[in-house]
Structures are given as structure tokens and as C-alpha cells.
Symmetry: C2
Subunit: 536 residues, 2 copies
């Protein structure tokens, strides 16, 4: 097909007259874009690309918030999820209710009616939410597709009133609008209930809500989830333990992760009055000795006023930090699931495999952010032998169901040479065989490839840890596979022996004219010799 | 390994005292997050995950802007890209200069010092930039890693002064800060020059700046790019044609793409005084007849005041739109590269293949946005036969070098059954063979998987068009592969004939005692018969 042709260039003058732009005409079209407008147009970035995924994403954001809030308040989470049909295959109302600490009145509108508002963005601590986008985005999608506001009910204690709010977003300004606020009767001591009406499509199976809740319960054994599906069927995932995961501690930035621009900003904003105090107070792992060393390496006095440090001096400071040996950041800001529990979880998911193993790596750091990787695998048994391996991905205990191809976890599995571990694998593909791989990345800041938090971005430090964990599991798998192979060979040999020896006995009897007894003796001896050779 | 254990639950009270949160303590930590802070922390979303990619992304954003501005102004683009070493393998200064229309004084700070500011976001028209993020993000990354502002020089006409600006971003507020503004001598009639100092690493090869510029030149044959690499080596990609691509027209939203929330907002904002006028003025492809039909289907009068339409009525309007037959949106808002040029481009990239073909689909629509897909393939010849197929991806004439695994184009190729076309392919992998696939998606709004615009998101309508284009190329490939196979078979047969017939002739002569002449006759006849059977 021929290319559409533009008129030749000499006609430029005429074209200009008919509408080609100038600097002035272009300037008139320049405008500010509100965050909400941006994400309305780009709603696939938030996980709202299609009606089926939209339902899942909205539920996921609400459940993430409930679990984070309960854990922060030290309450074993009880979460109830209900999906009500408004118009089948077109419109649903989702209800997510928790027994968390509730939300104080003044915060409700902003949390649900403003994108980029939250408590977790500025803290370095492992949590499910981190961006201050999720739940308000779900509300915005509901509003966009059904015109209805989000309805929030919240109570912060048994002697306080339960309040109900109807909240929308003014997308041009990214600001909340409260259309109704009132006291209501609500029979819970404390908690939050969120209702969103939205366009959606409900479907069971892979990437479904059921699957998401099942995987969530497996990675969070301290959580009880009650789920009422649109057909009225209800499902309960009971907690296995009342023990909450260890409480995580918020940490300060590690000096190795800080960049010049950020350092300049921190120097300007700090309350510390000397450079040395600034380094000790505003960073993790900097004591008097390290602070002294950094100052000396940078050629700066410890008593320098932070606000007076010039750009070039800050640059020297960065170089000095990189030249100074500083302890890795503390790891109590992250809590892995743990090898034992991870294996147990995998057994729940895939009960019929023949072999399970797991590997939990030590905490490591990317761009100053602590993170930790765990991998578990299941192999053999009743698993399909001629399929590609199945992969379960988790980040900060949240199952990732979409965008496997974009995820560092998938890439790390594909990039591992599984032939080394006795499996088949085509170039650029997952290994083929009865294999399931589960991987969990926990971090104070998981670098996702988009705001929808469906896949982990490509940081070499994280990839390295994933590979090491996969390889450790792989090596154990190879031992198992090899032993199985040897056993299979031996069994084959044994069956030959058992099949042929009686015939040999018969033949010997005929040739040598043996008695039945001599024949049986010969057969027994022969069997012994062959059995021994088999064992060698 | 054992899981880190939390203290048992009865200690909750104590834990609370030692720091577990309440609704009130949580409320105190809630904060607004500025867009710039968000993207500083998430800079991998913008394509700044590592120093090598950061250099490429920054250049790409500047070149995209230059090409868009020149084309809009009807000027064949002359772009100069220079990369200067500040500190080898650590810090570079990039300079991108164009002969575009320039930028008026008042707009410079916001364009370069504010995220989410631009002219293309609110218009439905094919362009490289669309989000109002790219170039200010590049500046922000420079500032973050080197502390230096972006330096912009711009002149809007030969009789106007050239102005130089030093612009930074106040990341806490997402607002520009101009530290210097002055008139300078600049020997160009009109144009813009952008200088950014940033942390980076320069490397040739795959995913390099050289590769990006080469692919850009191939998809934009009307562009001249001069490039000076950090080692001083310079490279020029001359334009092949002075003809600009056909000018694209801005369109209004198509009714099929509008959702309830947006419709309600449009009804509130419109200048039209009747519903019928609103439908005709604010949408594309709605004439008097269609407007009448929509109103009738919705049970609304044509004279209804748009601002008075209630939510439920708007909902009926949406249903009515979906029930009304409306022409597809006009396609002159998008310009494909064109089959001929696409094949020529591919030949330039891969000159030694044996077979080339291409397919340009008709324009189609996703979520109301027109788009068009083109695919070209090269096969055989000198291409590596035992490698996975190579893929070149383009969106709105911009080469996509990163995140192939996240991209719908890759997924569409992997999802095609290439065995049908005579190639080998493992499950879940690209086909193996001497194959190169080039695909281009052009749209008024390309749905990227993240702000870095590296991969196309998963819209079923786009996937369908990609698959159809790939299949069309595949079918032609099959004919070629089959013919080649038949020819190879025939050649083999022929070589047998030529090898054995003289011997048969000799044998016949011996057995039947023939003369040399009779023998030669017999051989000729035999050859004829066998040749004929070969052709059948």
C-alpha cells in the first residue's frame, strides 16, 4: 500500500496559512494537566483497562488498605468482601468492610477523593499501599463509569459515632467533593466500610477475584476473609494463626541511596544545626565515627551549617559517602513470609507435588531501599509434565495476577538455565515440566513498573537476589530429579531381572540337566549378583 | 528457615503502648504527595531506572519534542544531538538543538520545569509527546543527579531575540524556578536548544543512543539528524525526502468512547444550548440525523438543556449511543508510515534477507480513540536461522527499545502460531528462524504501560489488529517458504537425475548392446520423462 503523501514542500507557505502552527499558536494550547485528568485518560496505568480487571483492582486496593490499617493498629484483620450485581455483566457494587482502627473524620474526604494523598509515601517501611493513589483511583473509576460517589462508613471507637460519607473527585482540580455526611447506626466497635459502584465483569478462574483472595489468604495466614460472590455464594478463608507478622520499623534513608538533588533538599530542610548532626539524625547507620569520616573525606568541617553547604560541597559530600564504609541498613523494616511458611503456603496451593523446597535470601539494598527475596518451588507428583511452569508472584504479601511478561520475577525465571536442573526449556521461554515457582519480594519501597502495581521493575540488585534464590532451589531440585532418575533406572533394571531370570533358570536346567533345587539355587545366586551390580 | 515471629496476641495492649497506631496517630501522618515527589521516587516509571537508560530517555524526550514542534509548524526537521563527557561513565551534558518554531517566552519555564504541563494531552491528534511529562522529567532527573538546572535557548523568529533560560523544578510544589534569563547571540533564524547535565553511562550496541537515532531516522525519512557522540565521532542520518508526513487533523471524541462520568462533565461544560446541538458540536461523526436518533432512543427531547440533564438521563443517553449506529471516527487524525515505506525501511535495517512483505490495516478504534497498525517482516537470506526472531517496535514513529516483554506487540507475535507459516516455535516464546518483524502502532492516544512510553498496553482491539496484520504477513511468508521448500526438493531430485542418468544409460548400452547414439537418445528421453514427473 502506498504511503499517504504530504504536499511537496514548496507549498509550505500555503499550508501555514491553512493551519500549520507557530510558536504563538502553540503557546495558546499549552495547559496544566491535573493528576486526575491524567489518570482518567491513562486508567490502564492504574489497572482499570477493562471491566474484568477493574473489579479486581478496585477490590485489591480496598483490601490492601484494610490489611495495612489493621496491622498498623495491631488488630488481626477480619475483612469482608461482597460483590453485588447491579446489572449483570455490566455494573456491580463492591463492599469491603474491616475491623481496623477506622479513619478520623477530617481525613476521609482526602483519602478517598484525592489522588496522591496518603501516609505511606513518605515513610520507609514495608506496607502494601505506598503511593496514595489506589483507593481514590478505584473511586474515580466508579464515578467515571457510573456517576456514583464512593460511600464510606467509619467508626474509630465504640464510644464514637459511626459516620457515613459520600465522596466524589473533582477531576479537573484533583480535590474531594463531599455530597453527604451523616451519623448512622453501625453495629461494629471500630472499622471502615467502603462501597463503590462501578462498571465491571465478573468471571471466575485465572486472574479472578476468588483466585486473588485465595492467594492473599495464603500469603497472609493471620487474616480472615469472608467473601460473598455476585451469585450469592459465600466463601471463607479462615486465619491459620492469630499472630500478626512482626511489626516493621520505619527507617531513615541510607546514605548510599541518596542522590545529589535529594541531599541538597535535605540540607535545606533539616532541623540539625551542624553537618555532623545532620548526617547522624537524618540518615540511618551514621554514628559519630562515620559522620566524622564522611566530613573528613569531603574536606568539610563537622560544624558546618547544613543550610550553607554549596552545590559543589554537596557533590563532594556524595563522593565522600560513596568512599566511606557504612553498614547495610537495618532489616527490621521488612518482614519476609519465611521459608517454612512459604513452603507450607505452596503446599496449600499445589498439594499434589512430589518435591518442595524454598530459599529465603538475606536482606539487600537497591537505591538505598532495603528489600528481601524468597522463592519456593514445587515439582513432580500430579503436576502437568508437558506444560510450561506455573509462576505465583507476590510483592509485600500482595499477589500479582497481571502483567507477568513485564515482571522481573518472570524474567529471572526465564533467564535461569533450567536444563542445569534436569528440566527442558526453550530459549526465551519458561521451563517445561511439572514445576511451580512462587516468589516474594518484600521491600520498604517495591519498584513497580506502573501505578497499578502489577509487575516489578528491572533493578539489577533485585534481579541478582531473585536469581540466587532460584538457583538455590534449582540445585536442590537437581538432586531430587537425579535421584528420581537413578531410582527409575534401577526400577527398570530390576524389572528386567525379575522378568528374565526365571527363563534363564529354565534354560540352564534344560542345558545342564539340573534338578529343580539346583535350578532355584542358581536363580537365587544370579539374582543376588545382579542386584549387587545394580546397587553399585 | 523459621519465620520471624510476632509476640502472641494477648500482648496487643502492651504493643499498642509501644507504638502500634490508632486512627488518630495515622491521621497525623497523612500528607499530600506532589507529582514531582512521586516521580522522583518512582523514576523508573519515567525511564530513568539506570544511568545508561537515563541518557537514552532524556535524548528521546528532547528529540520527540523537536520533531513534534517542527512537524506542527510545517518545517522539515533538522535536529542536532550532542553528548559531551563531563566525567567519563558518570556525568554527561546532552545538547539537543532543532530548527523548529521556538517557544514563546512565557511558556519556557512551565514546559521545562513542571510535570503534567503541555499542549498535546487535551487534543486528539497523533503526536509523539502526549503526556506533558517527558522533557520536564528529564530535567528533573538531571537536577536530582547533578544539581544543575536545564538550560534552554529559544528564538521564535529572525527578528526576535534569542533568549536563554536556566530552569529548575521545585519538587515539593511541582513548579518551575527560573534562576537566570537573558538575551544571547544565537546564529539561527528560529529554533530551540536544550541542555541537560545528568548522571549517565554511555555504551554502544543494542538499546543505545546510536541505535535509537538510526531507527528514528528510518521511521522518519523526512528528518535529518546530526549526532556527535561523547568520543567526538559524528554521524549524520540524512533525510530521504523533504515531504513531511500528511498533516493530521485534531478530532473530537467519538460517542462510542465516552463514558458516563465524562459525559456528565461534558454536559456541564458545553457551550451548546440544546442536547442536539451538544451532540453535534462536541462529538465527531454526529450529524442531525444521528443526534435525533440518539435523543429518541434515550427518551429525551432534542431541545433539552444540557446542564439540566440528570445522572439517570445521562445514563440513558450512554445506552442510546451504544444502540445507535454511528460511523467510525475519521482517520485523518492518524498517519501510518505506509506499507511501501515500511518495507523499504525494513530493507535498510536488514538488507540481506531473501523475502520482505508488509501489511497496513485500516484504521480502527479502541475506547473511542482511532488507531492504525502496520507490520512488515523480513525472512531468510543472511539472517541467523537458529536465533529467536528479532522484533522492531514503533509507536507514533518513535522506536521502542525497552520492555519488550511488557509490550502488546511482542505478546501478539508470541501468541501467533508460526508453525502454520513453516517456522519453529516453542510454547510461550518468539518463533525461531531467520525472521525479523517490524510493527508500528499509530494513534491519537497510544496507551503505554507506563509514563516512560516503552511498551504498549493490553487493549483487545489493538491486539486484534496486530494479529490480523501479522497473520497476513505470515500467510505470504508461508507461500514463500513452501515454494522454497518445493524448489529445494526439486533441485535435490534434479541433482539425482543428473547424477544417475548417465550411469543408467551406460548400463542400458551394456545390457542391450546399444549404439552410442541410441544410448544418448534413451538418456534424453529418460531425462525428459523424469523432468516432467518432477514438475507434476
Amino acid at each position: 500500500m502506498a504511503r499517504k503523501k504530504a504536499p511537496p514542500l514548496k507549498k509550505t507557505a500555503k499550508r501555514k496559512a491553512t493551519g500549520r502552527a507557530t510558536a504563538e499558536s502553540m503557546a495558546k494550547r499549552q495547559r496544566e494537566i491535573s493528576v486526575s485528568e491524567f489518570f482518567t485518560k491513562n486508567r490502564h496505568l492504574l489497572g482499570f483497562d477493562n471491566p474484568r480487571k477493574a473489579l479486581l483492582t478496585a477490590i485489591k486496593e480496598a483490601v490492601d488498605n484494610s490489611l495495612d490499617a489493621c496491622e498498623e493498629a495491631g488488630i488481626p484483620p477480619d475483612v469482608r468482601v461482597e460483590l453485588v450485581v447491579v446489572k449483570k455483566d455490566q455494573r456491580y457494587r463492591l463492599v469491603v468492610e474491616d475491623n481496623g482502627p477506622g479513619i478520623v473524620r477530617a481525613q476521609v474526604p482526602k483519602i478517598f477523593g484525592q489522588l496522591l494523598y496518603g501516609s505511606k509515601f513518605h515513610s520507609l517501611k514495608q506496607s502494601r499501599g505506598q503511593q496514595g493513589i489506589g483507593i481514590s483511583a478505584a473511586g474515580m473509576y466508579g464515578q467515571l463509569t457510573t456517576g456514583k460517589p464512593v460511600v464510606i462508613t467509619s467508626r474509630t471507637g465504640p464510644r464514637r459515632p459511626a459516620l457515613e460519607f459520600h465522596v466524589s473527585i473533582d477531576t479537573a482540580k484533583n480535590r474531594p467533593e463531599v455530597s453527604k455526611e451523616r451519623e448512622v447506626e453501625w453495629d461494629v466497635r471500630h472499622g471502615t466500610r467502603v462501597e463503590i459502584e462501578l462498571e465491571g465483569r465478573y468471571q471466575r478462574g485465572k486472574q479472578s477475584i476468588d483466585e486473588y483472595l485465595r492467594q492473599t489468604s495464603i500469603a497472609n495466614p493471620h487474616v480472615t476473609i469472608r467473601y460473598v460472590a455476585p451469585d450469592g455464594e459465600s466463601l471463607t478463608f479462615e486465619r491459620v494463626t492469630k499472630e500478626l507478622p512482626a511489626e516493621t520499623t520505619e527507617i531513615k534513608p541510607h546514605p548510599y541511596g541518596v542522590e545529589l538533588g535529594l541531599l541538597i533538599k535535605m540540607l535545606k530542610d533539616t532541623g540539625a544545626r551542624t553537618l555532623s548532626a545532620f548526617l547522624k539524625q537524618d540518615f540511618s547507620r551514621v554514628g559519630p565515627k562515620v559522620a566524622k569520616e564522611i566530613c573528613a573525606n569531603a574536606g568539610l568541617t563537622e560544624k558546618a551549617r547544613p543550610s550553607r553547604i554549596a552545590r559543589q560541597e554537596a557533590d563532594n559530600l556524595i563522593a565522600a559517602i560513596r568512599d566511606t564504609k557504612i553498614m547495610a541498613p537495618p532489616a527490621d523494616c521488612i518482614v519476609p513470609i519465611g521459608g517454612e511458611l512459604l513452603e507450607a503456603s505452596l503446599k496449600q496451593q499445589v498439594p499434589d507435588a512430589a518435591f518442595y523446597t524454598s530459599s529465603t535470601r538475606s536482606p539487600a539494598v537497591y537505591r538505598g531501599n532495603p528489600f528481601q527475596v524468597e522463592v519456593a518451588i514445587a515439582y513432580g507428583g500430579e503436576l502437568q509434565a508437558d506444560d510450561l511452569a506455573r509462576v505465583f508472584r507476590f510483592a509485600n504479601r500482595v499477589p500479582l495476577l497481571y502483567q507477568p511478561g513485564a515482571c522481573l520475577i518472570t524474567r529471572s525465571i526465564v533467564g535461569t538455565d533450567w536444563k542445569n536442573y534436569g528440566l527442558q526449556q526453550a530459549r526465551g521461554a519458561l521451563p517445561t515440566g511439572p514445576l511451580v515457582v512462587l516468589a516474594h519480594v518484600a521491600s520498604v519501597w517495591v519498584p513497580f513498573t506502573s501505578e497499578s502495581k502489577e509487575a516489578i521493575a528491572d533493578y539489577p540488585e533485585i534481579q541478582k537476589e531473585l536469581k540466587l534464590a532460584i538457583q538455590e532451589c534449582g540445585r536442590r531440585l537437581r538432586i531430587f530429579v537425579n535421584r528420581r532418575k537413578r531410582e527409575a533406572d534401577a526400577a527398570k533394571k530390576k524389572s528386567y531381572i525379575e522378568q528374565y531370570i526365571p527363563h534363564i533358570g529354565q534354560a540352564l536346567q534344560d542345558i545342564l540337566d539340573l534338578s529343580d533345587r539346583s535350578r532355584d539355587q542358581a536363580v537365587t545366586k544370579l539374582r543376588d549378583i545382579l542386584e549387587r551390580s545394580r546397587k553399585m
